[in-house]
């Protein structure tokens, strides 16, 4: 019997995979709840039973029993857990930086209950067998649900498309050559044509390598002073404009990763106005830091691609987050080992970790000073799955429990107690941040508890 393509799509496997574990049952009392999806904002008691949110009731109304774990959350916040569509966990091939176990622990410590893993591993995730093997491995190692992206081009060489349909059937959530741009517009176009048949949003690292020309930081006054090769802002924006035009022409769906420059925001804004199916991410570090930070030449904290840009760019990113031009916050968590980072700036690998600090960093830099609202932060940390047809988590009664418990008053120094991640290249290393994740429930399982945070049993 012949099947229509739509039916094939319906046969796709569950996008997210997690290690099986016991379902959580706990009562969280007197928590301040903020859930932009359900429109909740108030103090509630939350009853989690067998991994589901059984009841959300007036504060103080739920009673305990049966030896259930009770969390007295007076003064603490509960949010729907976060979802990060842009994470590098380095499996397979570079487990000295991170693996599925350490990486999902880092995600859980940051309040995440779902992450999408980039495909630029070693070797890259380019075949259906790669996807199947990784999903199998995640079933024993991932403490939060993970979804796998596949490459757009075979081994990220930019010349041939991968078997996109079969990759989707094997479980690829979407496609990306992240780490590298797709330089050939003909390949880009064909990938978007193929997408009409097999689905799967294409996430794009937008950069023109000829304009970047070996640059290591934003091109401007500071790159000039430091004698470092600069990456001009237009290196990003010209590729966004190109790909938005191709996506518009082909009716394709693209996600622009890690937006960094004012010109890029304009390109996305224009494309959205024209009706192109385009969405965009911004990282916490681009929201909080500028190229001024690079003066330290501390590659461990401040070398990444795209580079940190100017204060004007940073302000434009914040505005774009507020007005919806930017859809979500994604960390681009990119772990590297010390010997790859404790070298001169130009020689160091690009990338910083971000899962464990995403909420706290943006909360400290943008919410506490009143630049953006707490509700906006929770929304933008939560909605990263939407471009990939993964709905944001919610605390509505009846939902699977995906939540994080956060103490907004807590102050902590990043790295002081080590990291859950195997790597230490946090852009927040040594910073004093406000707001700390105390516990994360992911897909009904308790995925993380802060060591110093204990709870009572009734």
């Amino acid at each position: 019997m012949n099947r229509a393509p739509e039916e094939v799509v319906e046969q796709l496997p569950e996008p997210m995979v997690q290690r099986p574990g016991p379902d959580a049952s706990l009562l969280i009392r007197q928590a301040k709840v903020l859930d932009p999806v359900a429109g909740l904002d108030g103090t509630f008691d939350i009853l989690v039973e067998d991994g589901r949110i059984a009841e959300l009731a007036d504060a103080g109304s739920l009673k305990t029993g049966n030896g259930m774990e009770v969390i007295e959350a007076d003064g603490l916040h509960v949010f729907p857990a976060f979802f990060d569509p842009h994470v590098h966990l380095r499996t397979p091939g570079q487990e000295h930086k991170e693996d599925l176990e350490t990486g999902t622990r880092a995600a859980a410590a940051g309040g995440y209950a779902g992450i999408l893993l980039m495909a630029n591993t070693s070797p890259p995730v380019s075949s259906p067998a790669d996807i199947s093997a990784l999903r199998h491995q995640a079933e024993t190692e991932a403490s939060v649900p993970v979804g796998f992206m596949a490459t757009v081009t075979r081994d990220m060489k930019g010349t041939e498309l991968t078997d996109m349909s079969e990759l989707r059937e094997a479980g690829a959530v979407g496609f990306t050559d992240d780490g590298l741009p797709i330089t050939d517009p003909g390949i880009m176009r064909k990938a978007l044509q193929y997408q009409r048949m097999c689905g799967g949003t294409i996430a794009l690292h937008e950069e023109d390598p000829d304009l970047s020309a070996g640059g290591v930081m934003h091109e401007g006054d500071i790159s000039m002073a430091l004698g470092l090769r600069g990456v001009p802002s237009i290196s990003e924006s010209v590729m966004i404009s190109r790909d938005a035009a191709i996506a518009g022409y082909e009716g394709g769906r693209i996600q622009v990763q890690h937006l960094s420059a004012t010109e890029s925001i304009e390109a996305v804004r224009r494309a959205k106005k024209e009706g192109v199916q385009i969405s965009a991410e911004v990282t916490p570090h681009h929201l909080c830091l500028t190229d001024e930070a690079v003066r330290s030449l501390d590659a461990n904290r401040h070398k990444m691609n795209p580079p940190l840009r100017t204060e004007n760019d940073r302000q434009a990113l914040i505005e774009a987050l507020k007005d919806g031009t930017i859809d979500c916050i994604a960390t681009d968590h990119a772990p590297h080992a010390p010997h790859e980072k404790e070298v001169p700036y130009e020689a160091a690998m690009m990338g910083v970790t971000g899962l464990e600090t995403a909420f706290s960093s943006v909360y400290t830099e943008l919410v506490k000073p009143g630049i953006i609202s707490l509700a906006l932060l929770i929304e933008k940390l939560g909605c990263g799955g939407i471009p990939f047809d993964i709905e944001p988590f919610t605390l509505k009664a009846g939902s699977t429990a995906n939540l994080c418990l956060i103490d907004l008053e807590a102050e902590w120094v990043v790295g002081e107690d080590g990291y859950e991640s195997r790597s230490h290249n946090s852009w927040c290393e040594g910073e004093r941040l406000n707001g700390r994740v105390l516990m994360t429930v992911a897909n009904g399982q308790i995925a993380y508890r802060l060591r110093s945070f204990s709870m009572g049993v009734a």
Binding site: E219, G220, D221, I222, S223, M224, A225, L226, G227, L228, R229, G230, P232, L297, H339, E342, V343, P344, Y345, E346, A347
Partner: protein
């Protein structure tokens, strides 16, 4: 002052003091016995990851004239060739307990990184396209000797400013000493953002007559392959400073090595207006002064406070 990493770390008074010290060492270099015992028993390591003639030889000789023990390590033919990391190499050399490490490295910030890893004074002898502070100081010293002061002087830096650590440290040093700086070259070789240093930008030599001093940068042939200039021939026609373009009262400097007939005309190099050989001579005195300033700071180890340069054989 423990390290010399970046001209921006210095103020005008520190530079004047250092150059006064260099004056007294210049006097020593004119004596029959050119050696002083100031750094006797101390070790100076020079660590060169890039080829160098002037800088490495003059630092080495400067340290020897001050009676230090000198260990010279070059990247080629050493463990660096075998893939040893900068950190491991530096930690290995630290076992000799050097008082100073002089480092040249192809990457910006390499010298600065060393300060986190070792207790020695670190001297930046060139880091990538970033800084070359001892060059800037010897250039200021050379000009001070010829002109008395740089205050209000008009200095043009001409050529490949984009790839030049000399340009970056010299703009800062010349401005610190009160000079007005103009950079000049084809737009492909002038870095974006250079105006933020307070210098003027010119894309032709038309107004070159304004300059009191013309500081030429080496035009590297490999830049042509990278399309920064269409041809060396055209570059020379547009930007070469030769006897036709040079006014009678203008001085010419060049950090070396020069490309005769490219950025500079042969006859200019050999003319009285050229300070190129003065620069090389100044290099030795200034680098002796740098080592002296960094390694004889009061309150240092063993409480020794050397009083100044004393020839060997005379009571210190």
């Amino acid at each position: 002052m423990k390290h010399l990493l970046d001209i921006a770390d210095l103020d005008r008074e520190q530079v004047e003091t250092l150059l006064d010290r260099a004056d007294s060492f210049a006097e020593v270099t004119r004596r029959d016995i050119k050696k002083v015992p100031t750094l006797r028993g101390q070790t100076v390591v020079t660590l060169f990851y890039e080829s160098s003639t002037r800088t490495s030889s003059s630092f080495e000789l400067a340290a020897k004239r001050l009676s230090a023990d000198v260990v010279s390590v070059k990247a080629s033919g050493s463990s660096v060739d075998k893939g040893e990391s900068l950190k491991d190499t530096v930690e290995t050399l630290s076992a000799y307990d050097p008082a100073a490490i002089v480092i040249r490295h192809p990457y910006a910030g390499a010298a600065s990184m060393l300060t986190d890893w070792v207790g020695a004074s670190v001297i930046n002898a060139g880091d990538g396209m970033h800084q070359h502070p001892s060059q800037a100081l010897l250039d200021v010293f050379t000009l001070r000797n010829r002109l008395g002061s740089l205050e209000g002087r008009n200095i043009w830096i001409v050529g490949d400013v984009l790839h030049s650590r000399v340009a970056r440290s010299n703009i800062a040093a010349f401005q610190l000493m009160g000079a007005e700086v103009t950079v000049c070259g084809p737009p492909t070789l002038i870095p974006r953002g250079i105006e933020s240093t307070g210098c003027r930008v010119k894309y032709s030599l038309d107004d070159l007559e304004e300059a009191d001093v013309i500081y030429l940068l080496r035009m590297q042939h490999e830049r042509m392959g990278e399309n920064f200039v269409p041809s060396i021939r055209e570059y020379a026609r547009l930007f070469q400073v030769n006897e036709r373009r040079l006014g009678p009262r203008q001085l010419v400097m060049h950090p070396g090595p020069v490309n005769r007939g490219v950025e500079i005309g042969s006859r200019v190099i050999d003319s009285d207006q050229s300070l190129i050989s003065d620069q090389v001579a100044s290099g030795l005195a200034v680098r002796m002064a740098i080592l002296y300033e960094l390694l004889t700071r009061t309150g240092d180890a063993a409480g020794e406070t050397p009083a100044g340069p004393v020839p060997i054989g005379e009571p210190a």
